[in-house]
Symmetry: D2
Subunit: 277 residues, 4 copies
């Protein structure tokens, strides 16, 4: 599968979240310990919000561990909201248009997992995408089809509801086609202000997902960790697997839940797919 | 647009048809004189038939003029039937899955031109593709959709008829959506035994297409040209623009015509799109 | 050969200087009108100074006209000092380590032109490079060897003198080896504060080089051009060929001269190679 | 480090040795069990001898496991002598010119291991390369410098002697510069007729190297294994780690030994570096 990371908080150089942690995402591209595959070398991508309404993205088919442009970009770009994704393909070609995060307008989307038996259900799912949105599909992955289904079903107005409806549709179509486990997912999406992170799978054995403890709490517990002094209280990471092993720093998102990271109180709520009416 | 070449005849090293001619296809990638664009640097591909029923393909996103693997491959692979294509994208991404020739089973397909206003008609055309074939689409080009329409409409049994029906459908859908000129095309396709080459456009101003004079005729006219001594009488090239300027060597395919190159007598026949019933 | 651009002035989004001008550098990658080649499709690179002392670089082997990451990067990165270079190789491989601008510490360097008969003189020139610097050479171009010779001969302390000594050495070694025209060059280099731009060739027929007229002058002449309102008086471009055709905007650097762009008065001075003692 | 394979024997489709074995080299690119690294994803290369005196090579910066061109090439190219190499860089950039096998004239060369502290000794080693050969160096790896040293010291006339002299020189230069373990290596080289495979390291703990048992012996032991019926008695594989686990099929090359595979009796002989006079 894949590994991903979402950061929201004080503006940081991308390298602070991508490269410098002990068990960084780049390190995970070679040595993932909790992923379905230990190597995530089938391209990668980053997305970040800056001055523009539209976030920037950088996609590469090279393994993240050897991409020299990534290191330079990460050392020079500063952002308060960063997505990063390293890919282990479940079959679709390694090409930039298949690299996450996907972007539509000011939305970003990334996914770890898969739509079960995708070649069997792909056509019916693509048909369910809004014809106005259809021409904007650029790649050939299940993850991008999932994103466009969520956009079709209201992502921009009601992200959790739209993802619940998209998952409900994927499960419905899958079951019609005899797919035992139609979806396996952790997903992150953002409009540049909030981040929503979902953990769910049809079989109830979802890929791992963790969120970091509030910075003010960590700072009180670990006054010796310098980087914590520089981050705002509300800075938060959501990750496929923990970066480093700071005691008390990581909390697992429970099965069938999603989190919302935004100004004010973050929330952790139950996630329930909504079958089509 | 693009430039392409199809060769059928005595087995030759690929470099004999790809690299050595004066105004070779590789030269045309930098300096096309008859193309809509002088530079065709958005990737390239070659296809060749060998021992296998399935032809080999090699696709690259690098410009053909600088690809070092192409030169080595061309110097070491020998084939009696070769397709080659250099791309100038009309908008879809530069990635291997968008490089011609496309392959399905033992069929190859390549296209110069475009489906007019493709984003407007893409969804309806994709819907017309056989659902069994649909999951085999790998890229995002108009040319590959065109190939899958032809496959859907009988390419494997009746290539000229299938292409006439596919073009009829594309013109019909285009006109329904208000597209003035729904298609512009030269196309080559092969099953490994015959080659079919088509020239057509909705506006009646098609991209150029040439076929070479029979080798026995050329040999009689040009006894001094060594390479002609080595080729079988029936060896034939079909090209977007002539390679070199050997007098008498090149003949233009007329507007709205197609040629068939095969064992026995080659043919040049009128092409007429067939609108859907 | 190649085309390049150097910008110094008010911080701008890279796209303002790279993509938006009428006859932008990206446009020149397909349609150069003053270059030795019309196509500059053998990779490209950009360098920019930001918060760090070390400038960022982004190198790609794709043609600049189709690189999607470049567009995103250019839309999101802001800098007061930008280098950009599009490459048409004179023989060395198309790979990131051969893309300009080259970087060493906080210095950037880019070159249009060539060292004549480079394979004949390369070893002797490489031997003249400081052994401490030698392991930092990453690619195989004449331009990078030229950069390391300039570093060896004092670039960091006296840029014009070091370039004059490096050119003197290249001419000396070339002539010893019977090379008629040992060097052809326009070069730009920067330490992040000043930009030096050189025009010279052994044969006295140097590649073109232009610098923009002072913004305050242009603004007075062209009150209707909006972008001029936003730039500081001292903002300046140096380019291989003019971007657009604003009357009075471009001035040719004379043969065997170099310019210095820095805080205060810019200067245009004669350039004379210094033969080794 | 890296993994490699050399095949000599009955002409085979490349896929027979590259892709079809249980624990194939491509499989090892993701899951090496005996390598210094489990992932060998920093590019790969193949070389093969055909009709030409000069062997063909194919180099790619993509991981071997996802390269689509490799699969097609391997299914269509047939050769009696094949080299293949998957790379895990010890620092030099991932680019085609750093991919093994390296070629010079009709010689191929590939290396697993490293020259210790290469940046410290590189300049002195490069200086020892024949100035006539120097301009033919294309990449920046220790392995290519090692190849050019062997060429300089007589590879084409006396391969084992030349490699012993090259290793002697590398050890001498390394020790002068205080390098504890100047070389770690398994190397294969060929002129298209014979293959020489070396195992050596300064510290006496060399990377693994295996050669296959003679086909006639294996065929007698395993009459049920179909592929053995098709191979000539003298067909032979030399590999970094065994492909599959056929009992009796694999024999370790002892420390400080090299093997010669050629028409007639193969040989296994001691290897002793020769210090410069």
């Amino acid at each position: 599968m894949c590994r991903w990371l979402a950061y929201s908080g004080s503006p940081v150089l991308l390298e602070e979240v991508l490269l410098k942690p002990d068990h960084s995402l780049i390190d995970q591209s070679l040595h993932s310990t909790m992923g379905a595959e230990t190597t995530n070398g089938d391209g990668f991508g980053i997305g970040w919000y800056g001055d523009h309404e539209t976030p920037g993205t950088f996609h590469s088919v090279e393994p993240a561990w050897s991409d020299r442009n990534l290191r330079d970009l990460a050392a020079h770009v500063r952002s308060p909201l960063v997505f990063a994704h390293i890919r282990a393909t479940s079959g679709s070609p390694v090409q930039q248009t298949n690299c996450h995060p996907f972007r539509h307008g000011h939305w970003l989307w990334m996914h770890n997992g898969l739509i079960g038996d995708f070649t069997r259900v792909k056509r019916e799912l693509v048909l369910a995408i809004d014809p106005e949105l259809y021409p904007a599909i650029e790649g050939s992955t299940d993850s991008e089809v999932f994103f466009f289904l969520a956009l079709t079903l209201g992502l921009e107005d009601d992200p959790p509801g739209a993802v619940e409806r998209a998952v409900g549709l994927i499960e419905h179509v899958g079951r019609v086609h005899g797919v035992a486990h139609p979806i396996q997912m952790t997903v992150a999406t953002s409009d540049g202000a909030s981040v929503w992170a979902f953990r769910y799978s049809s079989e109830g054995k979802s890929r791992s997902l963790f969120y970091s403890t509030r910075v003010d709490t960590l700072r009180a517990q670990h006054p010796e960790v310098a980087v914590l002094q520089e981050l705002s209280d509300e800075s938060r990471l959501v990750v496929s697997e923990p970066l480093g092993d700071l005691v008390g720093a990581w909390n697992e998102v429970p099965e069938s839940h999603y989190g919302v990271i935004e100004d004010g109180q973050d929330e952790l709520l139950p996630f329930a797919p909504q079958a089509p009416g």
